[in-house]
C-alpha cells in the first residue's frame, strides 16, 4: 500500500504540474515589463494591467459580457427552476420526454446552437447582436440550471410547502415565498455556474455579433492583432473573476451542507 501511495502522489504531482503550466505562464508574463509575453522576463510591472483598464474595446467587451452573462443566467435559472419545480411537484404524462427535450442542448456542440441562430437570423433578416447571444446562452445553460434545481427539490421542502398550503397560501405564493428562498443557495450557485460559462463563451457570440461584441470575441481580436502581455493581463483578470465566482458557489454550497 505504501508504494501505491507513493506512485499515486507522484502521478498527482505530475498532473497538477501539467494542469497549472499554462496558467503559470499566462499569469507570469502578464507582469512582463518588456513588450513581449515570452522569456526572458525583463522585470516585473503592472503596466499591462493598466493598459487593460484603459483599453476601451476590452472594457466595452467586459460590459457586454456582464450584461449577457447576467441576463442569460437569470433567464436560465428562472426557466430551469420553474421547469424543475413542475417536474418535481406534479404528475404528468411524458415526464421523461419533457426532461429529454429540456436536456437536449447539453448533448450538442455550441457550434450547432450558434449556427442555428445565425441561419435563423439571416433567414428572418434580423441584425446580429447581443440579444441573439443571450438567447443562445440560455439554450446552452438552462439545461444545466434545470438539472441542478431538479437535484435539490427534495421531499423536505415539499413538506414545508404543504404546511404553507394548509395555512391557505396559493401555488404562486408558495413558490415565491417558500420554495425559491428555501433553495436560494442552489439558485445562486446555478446562477454563478451559468454566468461563468456564459461570459466565457466564444463561438455563439462570435457567430452572432457584429459591433457590440463580448469579451472573448474582443480577446480573439486582440490575439489576431499580435503578441502582447496585455492579452495575458486580460486573461489573468478574467481568471481571477471566475475563480471568485466559483469560490462564492463553493461557500454557498458548503454553508448549506453544514446547516
Amino acid at each position: 500500500m505504501k508504494t501505491l501511495t507513493l506512485f499515486a502522489s507522484l502521478y498527482m504531482a505530475l498532473c497538477y504540474l501539467f494542469i497549472f503550466l499554462p496558467v503559470v505562464v499566462l499569469v507570469l508574463f502578464s507582469f512582463q515589463a518588456g513588450n513581449l509575453p515570452v522569456p526572458p522576463l525583463k522585470g516585473l510591472s503592472l503596466r499591462w494591467y493598466l493598459a487593460v483598464f484603459h483599453d476601451a474595446r476590452l472594457m466595452g467587451g467586459f460590459g457586454h459580457s456582464l450584461v449577457v452573462g447576467v441576463v442569460s443566467s437569470a433567464l436560465s435559472v428562472l426557466l430551469g427552476f420553474l421547469a424543475a419545480y413542475g417536474l418535481a411537484r406534479y404528475d404528468m404524462p411524458g415526464k421523461r420526454f419533457i426532461r429529454g427535450i429540456i436536456m437536449l442542448p447539453m448533448a450538442v456542440s455550441y457550434l450547432l446552437v450558434g449556427m442555428g441562430l445565425l441561419v435563423s437570423a439571416s433567414a428572418l433578416g434580423a441584425a446580429p447582436g447581443l440579444p441573439t447571444v443571450i438567447i443562445g446562452h440560455v439554450v446552452m445553460n438552462m439545461p444545466l440550471a434545470f438539472a441542478i434545481c431538479l437535484a435539490q427539490l427534495g421531499e423536505h421542502q415539499r413538506r414545508i410547502e404543504y404546511a404553507a398550503r394548509d395555512l391557505g397560501a396559493g401555488t404562486l405564493r408558495v413558490l415565491l415565498t417558500i420554495t425559491a428562498p428555501m433553495i436560494a443557495p442552489t439558485l445562486i450557485a446555478a446562477f454563478c455556474m451559468c454566468f461563468t460559462l456564459s461570459w466565457d463563451e466564444f463561438l455563439i457570440a462570435f457567430l452572432n455579433t457584429r459591433f457590440d461584441v463580448t469579451l472573448p470575441v474582443v480577446i480573439w481580436g486582440l490575439l489576431r492583432g499580435g503578441l502582447t502581455p496585455e492579452t495575458n493581463a486580460a486573461g489573468a483578470l478574467i481568471f481571477l473573476i471566475s475563480i471568485g465566482l466559483m469560490l462564492a458557489v463553493e461557500i454557498l454550497l458548503l454553508r448549506k451542507r453544514r446547516a
Binding site: 450584461v67 436560494a184 503578441l227 502582447t228 448549506k256
Partner: protein
Amino acid sequence: MARLGFTPRRFYGIGASGFALLLGLATPAAAQGTLNVLTWCDHEDPTLLQPFETANDVKVNFKDIGSTADALAILGQSKPGDWDAIVMDETDTGRLEGMGLLAPLNKADYPFATIPSQLQDPSLTSVNGSLYSVPEKFGYNTLAYNKANVDPAAMQDINAPWQPQYKSRVAVYDYYVPEIQYAALALGLNPETISDADLPKIKAKLEALKANAAMVGDVTSTQQALTTGAVDILVGGGEWVTAGIAKDQPNLDFTIPKQGGIRWQQGLAVFANSNRKPMAVKFIQYILSPEGQARLATSACYWGMPASTAAALTPDQKEILRWKDQPDYLKASYTYLKMTPEMDKKLQALWAQVMQGK
C-alpha cells in the same frame, strides 16, 4: 429553520439590487453618430481612432476582415446601408466597383500630390477615369527572417524558403493572394498576370513550400513563430511583421529578393449605399492627414509604409520602415492580382487544396 437558505426578503432584495445595477450598466452613453467600417485590424487601434472620434463626435464601428473575400461575405449578410467605408486591397477597386458597391470620390479632397506615382496608378484607384479608392498604406509580402539564424545574403534569392537546409524553419503567411503570387514570381512568371495555365505549376510549387514549412498561420501566429524562434523565415512577411517589434527583436529583418517581391497596398473607399457619405469622406481625409498617416503606419496590429510622404513620423520610425529605400523597393515590387470573381474562386480553391494536403 436553519435549512431555510435565505429569508424571502433578503433573497429578493439581493435579486432586485443586482438587477438595478445591471440596468445602470446597460444604459447607453449619450447618443452620437456612428460610422461603420470594414477594415483590416490595423485601423482598430484606439490611438488612431480616438482623435477622429473626439473631433467629430462619432463612434467608429469596425468589423475585422482578412481579405476582400471576407468583406464580400460580410456584405452578403448585411442590409444595404449597413456599411459606410471599407479598407481593402486596392487591386480590388475595379472588382468592387464592377459590383456597383463603391461611390465615386473627388480627387481634390485628398492629398494626392504627396502620394508616389506607383501607388496612385489609375489602374489601382480609378475606373473609367473616376476615382473610387484612396491609397493609404502599403508594404511588402516577401521574406522576413531572423538574421541571427540565417544568412541575410541567402535571403536575396526568392527561392531560399524551398531550400532543404531551412526544412521546418519556415512559416507561411495564410493569405492566398500574395502567397500564390510569390510562388509565381519564384517560378519566373509575371505575378501580375497569372493565367489558368499557370495554376498547376503554382500549386506544385506551393505544395513543395508547405512540405518545407513548419507552419501556416495568420498575422499573429506567424509573427509569434518568428519572435519565439519557432521558425527563422516567414514567406509573405515584410515590415508588417518585423517593424512593430523592431525594438524588442532587433534580429528580425525583411528584404526584397533580387527577383522582386509582392507589394500590398490598402485603399480606402466609400460604399455607394452609405447614408453617411460626408462622415466617411472626413474619415478618409483624417487617415490621409500627416497625423493620421503616422498613427496608421505605426498602429498596434501591424506597421506599414504610409501612402503619403507627408506622414508625421519620427526619424526612428522612418528608419525602422526603411523610408529611404522605398523608391527602389517600389520599382522592384509587383502589385496584388487584379481579380475577377471566377479567378478569386479558383485561387481560393487552390489554396484550400494546398492547405489540406499532407
